[in-house]
Symmetry: C2
Subunit: 323 residues, 2 copies
C-alpha cells in the first residue's frame, strides 16, 4: 500500500505516467508521453501485451521523431510493471485504458484505489461511459477524471476532459492543465453528456452516412470523397463554425444565420434542427467573434487559403507515392 | 441567335467557359478555370461586378500560382461580356451561379436556351435546388446538369454532379468528364436527393453542433476545436468511412461494425441511426475493401500517420505566424 501522504505534483512536475492497459489507445498514449520527455510505466495483464507494445514503439518512434522530440524524450523511457501495485508505486498520474466494460472499469478503479496514492489523479480514456458511472464504486472518486483521446493519441491533439458527479474541481483543473502542458488540446466539459463533444458531432455525420448507404443514395467511396476532398479539408483548419462564419461573406456568422437560417428546415439530413431562436443565433455569432479575435472575414479567408494549399499539396505528394 | 448546329466539343477540347453570375462562387470558378489554362467569359448584370471580379483575380492569383499553373494559364484569360447573348456566343460550356431563387433560376435557363447552342452543356452551382425543378421551364432541359462546388471553388476539389428527370445521360457523363479533366474531384449522383451528399453530411454535424450550443453542452470554440484538432484532421485524409475502417484494427470495418454496432443505439447524437442490417453492414465492409484496394489496415495506418504529420506541421507553421 503506497498511501503515504505525498502531495500531488503540479502538472508540469510529472515525471512518470502510469499506462494501464495497452492496445491502440494505451500504446498511443505511451508514445505521446515518451515524446514529451516523460517516463511511462506500463501494466497490462495480457500475455502478449509487452511484445506488442515493444513492436509498436519500435515501428512508431520515427513518426515521433518527425513530429519533434521534446527535452528528455527517448525510446528508452518505457518500463513494464509486473503488477498493478508496482505501476501505482512508480506513477505520478495514471492514464487508464481498460476495455469498455462498465463493471470491469468500476472494479479497476476500486483496485487502483487500494494501491495508488489518493492524492494523485486517474485519467480514463473511456469514450463510452460517464465518469459518474465509472467512479460509482471507487473509494476515492474525487480524483477520477475522463481524458478521452482520439486515435491515434500520439498524433491527434484533441482530448475531452470531463468529471463525474463526485469528481473534484481541482482534479478536473489539474487534468486540463496536465494535458495542456504536455501539448494536447484539451477541452473541459461543462456538462456530463453521452459521447462528449467530438463523438456526438462525428456520430451525427456517421449516422447520416449510414442512412445514405442504406438507401442507395451514395456509396462508401462517394461519402469518403465528399468529405476528404470537400468540407473535411476546411474543418482541419478551423472547424465547422468558423468555416461557416466565412461562408457569410463580410457579414460572417450573423449574415449566414440570418440568410441561410431557413435552410435548417430543409430535409438536408435526417436530423431535425433546433429552433433558431435569437438567443441561439447570438451565441453562434458571439462565439465566432471571440474565435476570430479581431480578424476580419477577409483575413480569415486568406489564412484558410494558405492552409488549404499546404494541406492540398501535402496530401497530393502523399497520394502520388501510393498510387 | 447562335443555334448553328455545331457539335459539342469533347470535355478536353473546351477552350472557353462562360461564367454566369460572379460573387464568391462564380468568381471562384473563374479562377479555377483560368488556372487550368482555359479562358473565361463572364456575364453579371450587377453594376460593380466587373471591378469586384477584377479585384478578386488580382488578390487571388498568387494563390493560384502557389497551387501550380497549368499549361496556358494566365491572369489575362478573362473577358467580360456585355450581354448574356455575347457570353453564350463565345462559351463552350456555362457554369451558372445566379442567386438561389428558384423562379430566377428557371427564367435564367429559359433565357439561356434562346442564346446558347442547345448541344452545349449548362452546369449549375446550386446547392439548394433539384435540377428537376431548375430545368422545369427550359426548352432544352436535357443539357442542364448540377455541378455543385465547395467554397472556395478555386481550392476545394469536390464537385457533385447531378441530373434532373429530364437531364440526358450523355450530358451527365460529359459534365463528370469535364470536371475530372480539369482537376476537380467529381462524384456522379445516383439519386436526386436534397442537399446532395456532402451538404447532408455536414448539415447533420452542423445541426448537432447547434443543438449542443443551444443546450449549453458546448461553446462555439469548443466545437471548432473538437473537430479541427480531432476528427477533422483525419477526415481531410481519408473521409469518415475509411477512418473508421482503421478504428477496427486488422479486422477493419467488419470488426468495427460487429463490435461497435450496438453503440449506434447510444444517445451520442440526436440523430437516430438506421437499423444495422446484414445488408448495410456488408455494403460498408465491401466499400472499405474497394477503397483500401489491397492495402492492409497497417498500411493505411502508416499512410494516415504520414499525412497527419504533414498536416499538423503545416498547420502549426501557419498558427505560429498568426498568433
Amino acid at each position: 500500500m503506497s498511501k503515504e501522504n505525498k502531495n500531488r505534483p503540479a502538472p508540469e512536475d510529472v515525471k512518470t505516467v502510469g499506462i494501464l492497459g495497452t492496445g491502440v489507445i494505451g500504446g498511443g498514449w505511451a508514445l505521446h508521453f515518451m515524446r514529451q520527455g516523460l517516463n511511462v510505466i506500463i501494466f497490462d495483464p495480457g500475455e502478449k501485451s509487452k511484445s506488442v507494445m515493444e513492436d509498436m514503439v519500435k515501428t512508431t518512434w520515427s513518426t515521433m521523431e518527425k513530429l519533434g522530440l521534446k527535452n528528455g524524450a527517448s525510446i528508452d523511457n518505457i518500463e513494464f510493471a509486473k503488477s498493478m501495485e508496482e505501476m501505482c508505486k512508480k506513477a505520478d498520474v495514471i492514464q487508464e485504458n481498460v476495455p469498455e466494460d462498465l463493471e470491469l472499469k468500476q472494479n479497476t478503479y476500486k483496485e487502483l484505489d487500494s494501491f495508488f496514492n489518493p492524492e494523485l489523479i486517474i485519467l480514463s480514456s473511456t469514450s463510452g461511459f460517464a465518469m459518474s458511472d465509472i467512479q460509482a464504486k471507487a473509494d476515492y472518486p474525487e480524483r477520477a477524471v475522463v481524458g478521452h483521446p482520439f486515435n491515434p493519441p500520439y498524433l491527434v491533439p484533441f482530448v475531452e476532459v470531463a468529471g463525474g458527479e463526485k469528481t473534484s474541481v481541482d482534479a478536473l483543473d489539474w487534468a486540463f492543465d496536465f494535458y495542456k502542458k504536455f501539448e494536447k488540446k484539451p477541452v473541459k466539459m461543462k456538462k456530463e453528456i453521452p459521447g462528449f463533444i467530438a463523438n456526438r458531432l462525428q456520430e451525427a455525420l456517421w449516422r447520416e452516412a449510414l442512412h445514405m448507404v442504406d438507401s442507395g443514395e451514395a456509396t462508401v467511396e462517394e461519402i469518403d470523397d465528399s468529405i476528404a476532398f470537400g468540407p473535411g479539408l476546411r474543418w482541419a483548419i478551423m472547424g465547422p463554425c468558423l468555416t461557416f462564419h466565412l461562408a457569410g461573406g463580410e457579414g460572417g456568422m450573423a449574415h449566414m444565420l440570418d440568410h441561410f437560417g431557413p435552410a435548417l428546415k430543409e430535409p438536408w439530413t435526417r436530423l431535425e434542427a433546433p429552433e433558431l431562436t435569437k438567443d441561439l443565433r447570438d451565441k453562434m455569432v458571439e462565439g465566432c467573434k471571440r474565435e476570430a479575435a479581431g480578424r476580419s472575414v477577409s483575413d480569415l479567408v486568406k489564412e484558410r487559403d494558405e492552409c488549404l494549399i499546404s494541406i492540398i499539396n501535402a496530401l497530393e505528394d502523399y497520394r502520388k507515392t501510393v498510387s
